[in-house]
């Protein structure tokens, strides 16, 4: 980070200095531990359907105090199901944060933007801090913001694909036009991709598969932490211009005016 600069973002009245969020779709205790200890995560998502268990290794018991739980509505195929799952999360003691995930395609797991907007509208009115997972579309993002979303979570690539920022140009549009934290979720496969997203100006990155399927989970979690910090520092420092064509003379065309 830049020395002397406190860099944090606010969500739901809470301040976060870590821009790494752990997704927990592919879940293990090792992953949760690594995310917190090696990646410094201050927020962890949790599939409510996964917490809906009597099993002794319930993920809820593994989240330490001080870490914000972000329950997600995975399994919901429409707005009504997402709303029911969010309310169930509250009943289970998961707090008021909710990541709305509405997917009605079991092959690619792509989010349904229109159902997500409907669910966001209902849940925001019920006092939830709503973080919707969405396909990066500016119109949908505006509708989500108007519906009361606390952040926008566009996907980089399909869940689990590890393909990185395939939707980069459309995420950039959201960064430029939407006055909410933009958090890239899904598809980030390498620390370099997380760094790239942070250089663009996203507020945070959510990662799951890339770490969960790494050979060394703690090491990969640590790599992501460093990459996210590097990208954020670069963004704050102000990246130089990228010259697309030709070179740029140090004496520009209008330099003669100073002669």
């Amino acid at each position: 980070m830049l020395e002397g600069v406190k860099d944090s973002f606010i969500l739901g009245g809470r301040e976060f200095t870590s821009r790494f969020i752990l997704g927990s779709g592919k879940y293990s205790l090792d992953l949760v531990r690594a995310a917190i200890e090696d990646a410094g995560a201050q927020m962890i998502t949790l599939a409510v359907r996964r917490a809906n268990t009597n099993a002794s290794e319930n993920i809820l018991a593994q989240i330490p105090e001080g870490v914000t739980l972000l329950p997600n509505t995975s399994g919901a195929r429409n707005a009504e199901e997402a709303v029911r799952i969010a309310r169930l999360a509250r009943e289970l003691g998961c707090g008021d944060f909710v990541k709305v995930e509405v997917i009605r395609d079991s092959k690619y797991l792509l989010p349904d933007n229109s159902e997500t907007i409907r669910a966001t509208d209902i849940l925001a009115k019920e006092g939830f801090v709503v973080m919707p997972y969405m396909y990066p579309d500016l119109n949908a993002a505006r509708d989500l913001a108007n519906a009361g979303a606390a952040a926008i979570m566009p996907l980089g690539a399909p869940i689990g694909s590890n393909k990185g920022l395939r939707t980069k140009d459309f995420i950039q549009i959201l960064i430029d036009e939407i006055d909410l934290p933009i958090i890239v979720d899904a598809g980030i496969g390498r620390p370099s991709q997380a760094c790239e997203a942070m250089e663009m100006g996203v507020a945070a990155i959510m990662v799951n598969t890339a770490i969960a399927t790494a050979r060394n989970i703690p090491a990969m979690a640590s790599a992501f932490k460093k990459a996210i910090e590097a990208g954020r520092t670069a963004y704050l420092a102000g990246l130089g211009r990228v010259i697309e064509k030709g070179a740029c003379a140090s004496s520009p065309l209008t330099g003669f005016l100073n002669d």
Binding site: G25, K26, Y27, S28, A47, V48, R49, R50, N52, T53, N54, A55, G75, A76, R77, E80, E81, R84, I85, L88, R104, D105, S106, K107, L109, G160, S161, N162, T209, A212, T213
Partner: protein, 379 residues
């Protein structure tokens, strides 16, 4: 094999025609090594790639295919393995399927659990820690009608988070009723997708109506079931063609109903006494593994169950590669899940893996896998 008067016909659905046509065209002898390499190099595999992976040309590549399958399984499921057990509610049956222990001509003890017995069985199963149950009956609408099954689902909802059904095919409205009662998914084994062989193996009873059985999954989805399961009894006919048809069936239905959760089972025909009718052949474990791997690569997001027809050694190893669901504490008779309680009805098939829930749970953990009791919310 004409439809019976009370059987719903899906007039506009072309799924069956497509499945049977593709099965007929499928010639696994024409695939070569290059087809396997192409299939393995892709992210999204087609039915043509699936056909190659099921062919004899794939056998020399089994290890590479397994590596790819494991990678896909990890991407979609992490290291999670879902656990469940079947509960046979009744073994009354009006069919005379040649290969089945419940065949109505078999002289076995017939039984059906009453509501209070269902509750006791379920409580015993729930005490083992399981949160998902699969309910089965023989095919007897007279003895085990839809309301009986519905009542069992309602009881099951009190003890379990996920309720599956493997019962006789029914109409859309019956599936909708059972969904309201608490059922989440439906599995139907087509046994074989060759209609001539099917006719030979099912001499009478409602099960004889081949198209009604084949379209069961589509009716279940229309009735609101979250997910459907597919399977052929491999070995009844040409297993490559039957596996190909099974995968094709699932693939086509998922394209038509994108929200459907798809799963495969891979029952393998085991030796049947007094069998003079079954003309197929028994699969080797390597061939069963090939089928499982091919299902995984065709539909990386589909669940794959390996049952207790297989030995512990096979089940433990395949769950580390491509299977994502495993049964434990299994009894295929009627009753018998409670301690000191004998079964009242005889078994459907012989169990090769008799391990308890805790034994299977431990075995999964020892292999670095994460046994999951529930990953579902009924909404």
């Amino acid at each position: 094999m004409a439809y019976l008067p009370d059987m719903e016909i899906l007039m506009e659905s072309t799924i069956m025609e497509q499945v049977l046509a593709r099965r007929e065209e499928y010639d696994y002898r024409r695939y070569v090594a290059e087809d396997i390499r192409v299939a393995l190099s892709k992210d999204n595999r087609t039915l043509e790639d699936f056909g190659a992976l099921l062919s004899p040309a794939a056998m020399p590549f089994l290890e590479e295919i397994a590596l790819k399958a494991r990678e896909e399984t990890r991407k979609h499921f992490g290291n999670s393995i879902y656990m469940f057990t079947p509960l046979y509610l009744a073994n009354y049956c009006e069919n005379s399927c040649v290969y089945c222990g419940f065949n109505r001509c078999q002289k076995i003890r017939r039984a059906q659990l009453k509501a209070e017995e269902i509750e006791r069985e379920m409580r015993s199963i729930a005490d083992t820690g399981l949160e998902e149950i699969l309910l089965l009956t023989g095919e007897s609408r007279k003895m085990s009608d839809v309301h009986y099954i519905g009542e069992a689902c309602t009881i099951a909802r009190r003890f379990f988070k996920m309720v599956g059904l493997e019962v006789y095919p029914m109409n859309t409205q019956d599936y909708a009723y059972l969904r309201e009662c608490g059922a989440d998914y439906v599995t139907v084994f087509q046994e074989t997708y060759d209609s001539n062989t099917y006719e030979t193996l099912h001499p009478d009873g409602r099960k004889r109506v081949f198209p009604y059985r084949l379209n069961a999954q589509e009716r279940a989805l229309r009735g609101g079931m979250r997910g459907v399961g597919f399977g052929a009894l491999l070995g009844l006919d040409d297993f490559k063609k039957d596996a190909f048809a099974t995968g094709t069936h699932a693939w086509l239905l998922q394209r038509k109903y994108p929200q459907a959760e798809i799963s495969f089972s891979c029952p393998r025909l085991r030796p049947v006494t007094n069998n003079g009718v079954i003309g197929g052949s028994l699969l080797h474990e390597s061939e069963l593994l090939q089928v499982i791997l091919a299902y995984r690569l065709l539909m990386p997001f589909a669940g794959i169950t390996v049952s207790t027809r297989e030995h512990a050694h096979f089940r433990d190893n395949v769950t580390g590669i491509a299977a994502t669901k495993i049964s434990a504490g299994v009894s295929t008779g009627i009753g018998g899940h409670q301690e000191c309680q004998e079964e009242t009805g005889d078994d459907q098939f012989e169990i090769a893996d008799t391990r308890s829930v805790s034994e299977v749970y431990s075995a999964m953990k020892e292999r670095g896998l994460q046994p999951v009791m529930n990953d579902y919310v009924y909404v």
